[in-house]
């Protein structure tokens, strides 16, 4: 019998090794799998390469992982936020490597990894600092930059409902990077607030098919808090 339901966060995260590339879902607080990140801090893996849109807020979640000194490098589009002081200090003191990627390129590079695309030409970033040194091509009169996929060993994502085959649904804009990160990692671990019987999720509403998911772990439902802006 296929059963991807993990009894605990600790068990779901057990195989994350030092030096792993870990994608973490979320845009600000929405979709950030806080319980999985807390579990990763507890689990102890270090020298991690993290892929996330941001670089953490205040001292919780991803910022907590950074503060604990577990991250060697972060690949993201928007590290600087009103409450990103943990990242800011690590970056300024040279303790954290940053690969800054335009947000759409970040998303498409993740998608490409999951979809078996070797590389792709995108107009985003052409002629800017973020495309320096990259191969370019003119196609039908427009200029493009060659971008490569971003693969990960693990993806930690936050979903809403899951079943034992790993099918997932999401909640509102908490969906953001979850569905594409799930496709790009060798092992995807999804936290959910509800576990459904097989067949109970309307197949027309499944967003992430279970084929992309290795472990599903239920965590208590807590309201997502504000993050990423002044006064949050």
């Amino acid at each position: 019998m296929i059963d991807k339901i993990s009894p605990s966060v600790q068990q779901a995260l057990a195989n994350i090794h030092d030096g792993a590339t870990v994608m973490i879902g979320g845009f600000g607080g929405a979709g950030q799998p806080a319980e999985l990140i807390d579990g990763l801090i507890e689990q102890g893996a270090k020298e991690l390469v993290i892929v996330n849109n941001n670089a953490g807020n205040a001292e919780i979640g991803l910022a907590g992982l950074l503060k604990a000194g577990r991250v060697r490098k972060i690949i993201c589009s928007f590290p600087r936020q009103a409450d990103s002081y943990v990242f800011d200090e690590l970056y300024r003191s040279g303790k954290l490597e940053l690969e800054l990627v335009p947000q759409g390129n970040l998303a498409e590079r993740i998608r490409a990894a999951g979809a078996g695309i070797g590389a792709f030409f995108t107009p985003t970033g052409y002629g800017t600092q973020l495309a320096e040194g990259k191969e370019t091509r003119e196609i039908n009169g427009r200029h493009y930059v060659l971008e490569y996929p971003i693969f990960a060993d693990f993806a930690l994502i936050k979903a809403e409902v899951g079943d034992r085959w790993g099918n997932l649904t999401y909640r509102k804009t908490a969906r953001n990077f979850g569905p594409i990160m799930a496709t790009a990692a060798k092992t995807t671990i999804a936290s959910v607030h509800e576990i459904a019987e097989l067949g109970a999720i309307d197949p027309e509403t499944v967003v992430t098919p279970g084929i992309f998911v290795k472990h599903v772990v239920k965590v208590p439902r807590t309201a997502t808090g504000p993050a990423g802006f002044k006064g949050a």
Binding site: F27, G28, G29, A30, G31, N53, S77, F78, P79, R80, Q81, S84, F87, D88, Y91, R92, L98, L100, V101, P102, Q103, G104, N105, L106, A107, E108, I110, R111, T122, P123, T124, G125, Y126, G127, T128, Q129, L130, H143, Y170, R171, K172, T173, A174, R175, N176, F177, G178, P179, I180, V207, A223, T224, G225, P226, A227, G228, F229, A232
Partner: protein
Amino acid sequence: MSETNTLPKWTRDQIAARVAVDIPDGAIVNLGIGLPTQVANHLPEGREVILHSENGVIGMGPAPAEGQEDYDLINAGKQPVTLLPGGCFFHHADSFGMMRGGHLDVCVLGAFQVSATGDLANWSTGAPDAIPAVGGAMDLAIGAKKTYVMMDLLTKTGESKLVESCTYPLTGIGCVSRIYTDFAVIDLGADGANVIDIVEGLSFDQLQELTPVTLTDAR
């Protein structure tokens, strides 16, 4: 340039309202973080405009009533928003596909500098100690059918932000089709900088004195 303080100018609300006038009924629009967000407050009555946000929502409504905030439903500035009937959610690759694929009609952004040929600099001042952050700026700049910029024409120290060539790091090349400033609305393109609207009480010559870019009166 201290005398520029006495020149007539549009307020930020008036600039936002001026942008809103040019957004047609049925348009799909992305409003950048900050000043451009205010455009939504000035859309003329009866005009149906669909707002897109990069983090995976289309059909965005106004901010929720106090106490009704749901931080799983936020905009690109990570502020809580609402969803209008007909609105929906999608993942990030789809959201940026909407931009890059040319499915957005209008995008309104802020800027540090815009060049006479429509180059945009709005993500970094290039200061050596600055923490870089680009977000969706580069995708938005080149993706929409029309990219409008909303900005003060002058910096706080009186330098023109409309320049012959950007000195700040570029966001995109030749991507801005029109700027809405506190003094004028100016179309940019291969045929130069064409002024289509000037704040009441300011002459074309007075406007020209504010910027090194050669302007054409196209009113």
